[in-house]
Amino acid sequence: MDLSSINPVLLLASLMVAATPLLFAALGELIVERAGVLNLGVEGMMITGAVAGFIIAVESGSPALGFLCAAIAGALLSLLFALLTQVFLANQVASGLALTLFGLGLSALLGRDYVGIKPPSTPKLDLGMLADIPFVGRVLFTHDLMVYLALVLAIAIWFFLHRTRAGLILRAVGENHDAAHALGYKVVLIRFAAIAFGGACAGVGGAYLSLVRVPQWTEGMTAGIGWIALALVVFASWKPGRVILGAYLFGGVNVLQLNLQAAGAAIPVEYLAMSPYLVTILVLVIMSADRSRAPASLGRPFHASN
């Protein structure tokens, strides 16, 4: 075994990149579920964002515009889900699964002419002096804007949920939609907004895959990250801070296990391969021993006549 060939700086730096798509998608879904809606279509919205962002970035030459359009595309797709479940009161689980299938098919169709093209590269943020700090500088301050945006988003969501009136209303809708309705809040409208926000986040997460992390368009390239994001929200007990922890753990252990393999560590590869899932679940389950629970109205349909 030659562990010296693992460069901890590069390892930690790539950890942040690996965790970002997951973080975006999970944060979006967190808001959706806090509003009492279970949208299983994360995978479909991510892949739609991945292809939409890729196409726009390639055509316009601007990754920023790509990310923006990915957010819009994800949000548009999620509005379809919102229409089905909030207006026509369709089953949320079935509609979410349908959204995933639809998104995978739609993205494959849209992306047919974009296979094998290199996207314009997303510039790294120039943080000047900060990046020159030994070790910490290279790890923390040499990334593109989206990596930081994901972290800022997590903090903003925490602030929104716990320190603002609007956040309180959103949580009220998720905990007891009948009571929120009786107080005069527009439950369906609030849920529409939450679902669209979730879609936009998933879209951006997908675009981060196709524009930065891989970077290319391939059919079905999300390969299950959307499902991991869904699971992560539950294991993180619907708390933004724990979503960050979970996403970084998952991304980090994943990169670490590949590094250990390449360095020839004397740990059986099977254990290394399953370690990202195992470690993430274990840590978050232990942390959620504090009786946190799901929003009480999660997945239940709401109609004003009830």
Binding site: S5, I6, N7, L10, L11, S14, A18, P21, N91, A108, G111, R112, V115, G116, I117, K118, S121, L209, R213, V214, P215, Q216, T218, E219, G220, M221, T222, A223, G224, I225, N254, V255, L258, N259, Q261, A262, A263, G264, P268, V269, E270, A273
Partner: protein, 360 residues
């Protein structure tokens, strides 16, 4: 709720009706394909789908083809195969190693349907196996890789530790070592055939640890993109030409050409002459192609690579020719001796010089 119930009943009735119609409709030969990835993966599944399209073009109205993509390996695939057989498929190609036992199970339930399983080794009265000698192409890659590397570290992204992948690693290593005695292989197992993000991560990790040539045995073009991003790293197209990444990083490729085999077997079903077979063809028969070697490779290396390719095609050279030892130092092949197909088909050991253990 009531509406949903009605809809569900209607859908089911429709499904049964179409199923019955398909079964009763006997003139056209129906050929089914089960794919492990999406047809747009640009690699393994893409080439199988090209084979399917060739069958359609060759037979025209005589044949109808159906396919299901991104089918997980394991029990879930049984459901897909059963569905295909129930819908009247006469011949079903299951195109990934992990479909082996499901194929055997489903085949025993449908004795009149012919099954063809790619890269496996279990046959039955109505199950054939077919594969290509990818390791012949790997030998050519190994020769080029051994010449190109300056860090003397070659990264290898494996999918699953199955004989097919291990054969490829050994074959590439033997040739690389021949032209560059200092060469070292770093092997990473991705435990997936298709996951672009993970494949890209694996490539990045190998590059960070000093590899300047990356060989992949996974299906997407993600490692090519990662190598392009890193610059000054060489890669090879896997299963498909991946020419979009030429002339750098992709300097050559192994191309699977399934079309002639698929056409031949479909013809056999139409003629009623289909028999269980175990087909294993290589460069000579045209099942394995070597993609254009780009100008990023020095002329003399390119010449040597093409010479090796021709020698393998004519049978003059076998990629596994002694003297060769196993990883633990025990003798495997004596001077001039070549490996037999049985050993190759079940290969579960590294040759001498490769470090690391094969996950068991």
């Amino acid at each position: 709720m009531k509406l949903i119930k009605h809809l569900a009943t209607a859908t089911m009735a429709l499904g049964v009706a179409t199923g019955a119609m398909a079964a009763g409709h006997g003139e056209k030969t129906k050929v089914g394909f089960v794919y492990v990835g999406p047809v747009g993966d640009g690699g393994w599944t893409y080439e199988h789908n090209e084979g399917r399209l060739a069958v359609e073009e060759h037979f025209g109205d005589q044949v109808e083809t159906v396919f299901v993509e991104s089918v997980p390996e394991g029990p879930d695939s049984e459901r897909v195969m059963t569905q295909m057989a129930l819908e009247g498929a006469d011949l079903i190609f299951t195109t990934s190693f992990g479909y082996m036992d499901p194929t055997i199970n489903v085949a025993s339930k449908f004795p009149d349907v012919k099954f063809e399983h790619a890269t496996g080794y279990k046959t039955a009265d109505n199950v054939s196996v077919y594969s290509a000698r990818f390791y012949e192409g790997r030998a050519v890659q190994g020769l080029i890789a051994g010449n190109l590397t300056e860090s003397n570290i070659i990264g290898y992204i494996g999918s699953y530790p199955i004989p097919e992948v291990i054969r490829g690693i050994n074959s590439a290593y033997i040739q690389a070592k021949k032209v560059n005695p200092d060469v070292e292989f770093k092997i990473v197992w991705a435990y997936t055939w298709f996951d672009p993000a993970k494949e890209a991560d694996a490539a990045k990790v190998l590059i960070e640890q000093g590899a300047d040539v990356i060989l992949q045995h996974t299906d997407s073009t993600a490692p090519q993109a990662a190598a392009q991003e890193a610059g000054n790293v060489y890669t090879f197209g896997q299963a498909s030409d991946m020419i979009e990444y030429a002339p750098m990083p992709r300097v050559s490729s192994i191309i699977d050409n399934w079309a002639p085999y698929y056409i031949e077997r479909t013809q056999a079903v139409i003629d009623g002459t289909w028999e269980t077979a175990n087909t294993w063809d290589g460069i000579g028969a045209g099942m394995v192609g070597i993609g254009e070697i780009t100008d990023a490779v020095p002329a003399d290396v390119k010449e040597a690579a093409l010479a090796l390719k021709d020698a393998i095609a004519s049978g003059e050279v076998h990629p596994f020719t002694g003297p060769l030892n196993k990883q633990d130092g025990s003798a495997w092949l004596a001077e001039g001796e070549t490996a037999d197909d049985g050993t190759l088909a079940g290969m579960n050991f590294y040759v001498e010089g490769i470090t690391g253990e094969i996950p068991q």
